[in-house]
């Protein structure tokens, strides 16, 4: 494991995980699997899954208290696979910062797995997604229902035998009353004789429902008793599209995950592919990626806070913050050619080196950020209305936040000092001097303020990166991954052949799995890629931070007022592109 990660991109490797305690408990039925690009992996028999996972969570030696992700692979086209489906759990331990992958084979005919929703709160939605996309059923799940596709959809689109372009029309939107019924049934204190209840539909086209989020709420007066979120209105089939495009062609699709900070998605994706290929990008490229990512983080937080404050009635902030965003747009446009969807990175480097205007214009941005942000902060930081509407509203405890799979600013607002840039640093983040802002109460106020503070911290990182950015190439020299320069293509046979090969056959990583994550604006953005050695990913799964965070929305909103729900929703910064993929 050591040599693999030593050559990997991440400076600091994940701690080793020993199999021993679990062998003591389960014997031969749990065993070590080949590591997933340096990440330790166990394999377990399907009937053991629930017990093994509970053991991993509760045992002192492991303490895997966060479920990072669950996904599934359909091995229909893989002749050697012992069963059709492979379910893959991805765990993370905040106390030890260890990670672990747990895999299990599931045969098609008994495609049923024990649900772990009682162990991890985010498992509820994750399992529903697998049911929706692959048709695996989870035993004991309270609400085994489609989540991304609509209720009249027939079949499971991510199965390899489902044709990609076979669309299915929906005649009428779901009324969600069945889910409300389930909530009523599960809640023992439900029948309180309140006959004044009203159900109200919010979204998916609603001024404060940023994008396409929908909630069905049951109200008593203005108080929300139950809240049923429905997602999937912006499900665009990222994973299926990735399976039919070659590795570099997936990059534009990643732009459209979290479209408020497109470059961070580009970087997250290519970093995973590079890990799979075991290549390291040149120094200059890393610094450029860091600067671009931090600029994007600032842009993302500007939109998040700007829009959130608009929902609270503070429109002026939006003008202040968005005009700063416009300035950053200008810099990105000059360097990447696009304002919003930049598609800037390539496997093995970036599209093009930055030009001579880059440094002065970024330095100018560094001067502009504090000015605009402070203007906005002056309007809100001690504003009585703002405080009344945010302090103590939608608070979540650190323990719940971890269980819901929170990462990023929302987790930090709940008081957990955890940032991938610090705990598992990549691209020299360990060499930069910056702080991680942490909240106390995990409420709306903390979430907004953590974002404001992170913008200042990003500026510190950018300034240091600019100072240290070396000269040199931005792309690796390996012609298997990076196109040769035009002169070479036209004047030498080697150049022409490698150009032809890369264009016609694309990048071909060796067969294997990889999971890699970066700290994106909303939290841990992970990519789980399975390669079968061909030019397209066999599977490319995204672990979006929003999906996990949004699954906790009912917990935050219930018991509050409708107006609070709006404030909370804004502060979670749910980006539909990333939520529904």
């Amino acid at each position: 494991m050591e040599e693999k990660t030593a050559a990997g991109i991440t400076g600091k490797t994940w701690p080793d995980v020993s199999l021993e305690p679990s062998t003591k408990e389960f014997g031969e039925r749990i065993r070590l699997d080949p590591p997933v690009c340096g990440l330790p992996a166990f394999r377990v028999q399907p009937e053991l899954l629930y017990n093994a996972i509970r053991f991993l969570k509760e045992n002192k030696a492991y303490r895997f208290n966060q479920l990072t992700d669950v996904t599934c692979v359909d091995h229909l086209q893989n002749g050697q696979a012992p069963a059709r489906f492979e379910i893959i759990y991805n765990f993370h331990s905040l106390p030890t910062s260890a990670r672990l992958i747990l895999k299990s084979w599931i045969a098609e005919d008994d495609a049923t797995v024990d649900s772990i929703h009682s162990l991890y709160k985010n498992a509820n939605w994750l399992e529903r997604e697998i049911f929706d996309q692959y048709g695996l059923r989870f035993k004991g799940h309270p609400n085994m229902k489609r989540i991304l596709n609509h209720k009249e959809f027939v079949g499971h689109p991510l199965r390899k035998d489902y044709p990609i372009s076979k669309g299915q029309w929906l005649s009428e939107a779901d009324d969600l009353l069945d889910e409300l019924e389930i909530r009523h049934r599960l809640d023992p204190k439900d029948d309180d004789g309140d006959r004044e209840r009203m159900t109200l539909n919010l979204g998916p086209s609603h001024p404060a429902a940023h994008g396409t989020l929908r909630n069905m709420v049951e109200l008593s007066g203005e108080t929300i008793l139950y809240c049923i979120p429905e997602i999937g209105y912006l499900h665009r089939g990222f994973e299926k599209n990735a399976e039919t495009h070659c590795y570099n062609m997936v990059i534009p699709y990643t732009d459209r995950l979290n479209y408020c900070s497109a470059i961070m998605n580009n970087v997250g994706y290519v970093k995973a592919v590079e890990r799979l290929l075991n290549i390291e990008v040149p120094e200059r490229c890393r610094y450029i990626r860091v600067i671009m990512c931090e600029l994007s983080r600032i842009m993302d937080h500007l939109v998040a806070n700007g829009a959130n404050l608009v929902d609270l009635g503070a429109l002026t902030n939006y003008w202040y913050l968005f005009s700063l965003r416009e300035k950053i747009y200008n810099v990105l446009e000059e360097q990447t050619g696009a304002r919003l969807t930049n598609s800037y990175t390539r496997v093995g480097g970036v599209w093009a080196d930055v030009n001579e205007n880059f440094e002065p214009s970024v330095r100018q941005i560094l001067k502009d950020v504090p000015r605009h942000v402070n203007d906005s902060l002056k309007l809100v930081a001690r504003n009585r209305i703002f405080l009344d509407r945010t302090v103590g509203v939608g608070a979540i405890s650190a323990e719940d936040a971890v269980s819901f799979g929170y990462t990023g600013p929302c987790l930090r607002a709940a008081g957990v000092d955890w940032d991938l840039r610090k705990v598992q640093p990549y691209y020299h983040y360990d060499e930069f001097d910056f702080d991680i802002p942490v909240g106390e109460r995990g409420d709306t106020y903390d979430r907004i303020m953590v974002r404001f503070e992170e913008m200042f911290q990003s500026c510190r990182i950018i300034a240091q990166a600019l100072d240290r950015m070396p000269d040199g190439p931005v792309n690796i020299a390996d012609r298997r991954y990076i196109l040769p320069p035009k002169e070479e293509v036209y004047s030498s046979i080697e150049g022409m052949v490698s150009h032809f090969n890369l264009v016609m056959r694309g990048v071909r990583p060796p067969a294997g799995d990889v999971y890699d994550a970066t700290e994106a604006a909303n939290g841990e953005l992970g990519f789980y890629i399975v390669s079968d050695g061909s030019q397209n990913p066999y599977k490319c799964h995204v672990r979006p931070p929003c999906f996990h965070i949004y699954s906790s929305f009912p917990t935050l909103a219930e018991g509050g007022m409708i107006a609070d729900a709006i404030a909370i929703l804004g502060s979670l910064n749910i980006i539909a592109g990333e939520l529904d993929r």
Binding site: H150, G167, P207, G211, Y259, F322, S323, L340
Partner: protein, 188 residues
């Protein structure tokens, strides 16, 4: 005497006729000695022109923003590009108060019935702009969940190319719609 936006030939009255008629009215007014009052206080025009003039300068957009394109629309609404220069800044979130729908973003099959319903809730006259590749044609999402262009479910007046379109393109589309509005007869 001033003619407000004389647009020839569209409401059935040829330009010359309209001018001749107003000359006639003026003539009659002179006979009755009310010349001054009339020229100072009255404007003669066609209903089409004056209604269209009002409509085109106060388009009330409804943003059906689902995805990345909606973020670019935010830029259009913000201070730098400033959509209010074209009289279309009063962004309504209720279809009943809007007359220009801008579909900005990918529309999935799950979303389709909702888009259709919202379109039907808008009062006539109404116009639809399909902003960006996704709304126009499904964009590069040729897959199991994306409607291949919103014109499959609602009528579209204008398409804007781009992924996402630049803010200038959106403003250009609004201008284009305004020019069309000038020419169109008032529907009854």
């Amino acid at each position: 005497m001033r003619f407000l936006h004389p647009t020839p030939g569209l409401s059935g009255i040829p330009q010359e006729d309209a001018e001749a008629r107003s000359r006639e009215i003026l003539q009659r007014a002179r006979i009755y000695g009310e010349d001054r009052t009339l020229t100072d206080q009255m404007m003669l025009t066609r209903l089409d022109s004056v209604v269209n003039w009002g409509r085109k300068n106060s388009l009330w957009p409804f943003i059906f923003g689902t995805a990345c394109c909606a973020i670019e629309f935010m830029a259009v609404a913000a201070s730098h590009f400033d959509i209010s220069r074209f009289g279309a800044e009063l962004i309504r979130w209720s279809p009943r108060q809007a007359d220009m729908m801008i579909v900005g973003g990918t529309v999935s099959y799950k979303q389709a019935p909702i888009l259709r319903r919202i379109y039907q809730q808008m009062a006539d006259p109404k116009w639809v702009i399909a902003m960006g590749a996704c709304a126009a044609s499904g964009g590069f999402y040729d897959d199991y969940c994306t409607v291949q262009g919103v014109d499959k479910i609602i009528p579209v007046d204008l398409y804007i190319a781009g992924c996402p379109p630049r803010p200038e393109a959106i403003l250009g589309a609004i201008r284009e719609l305004q020019i069309r509005l000038e020419r169109q007869p008032v529907r009854v």
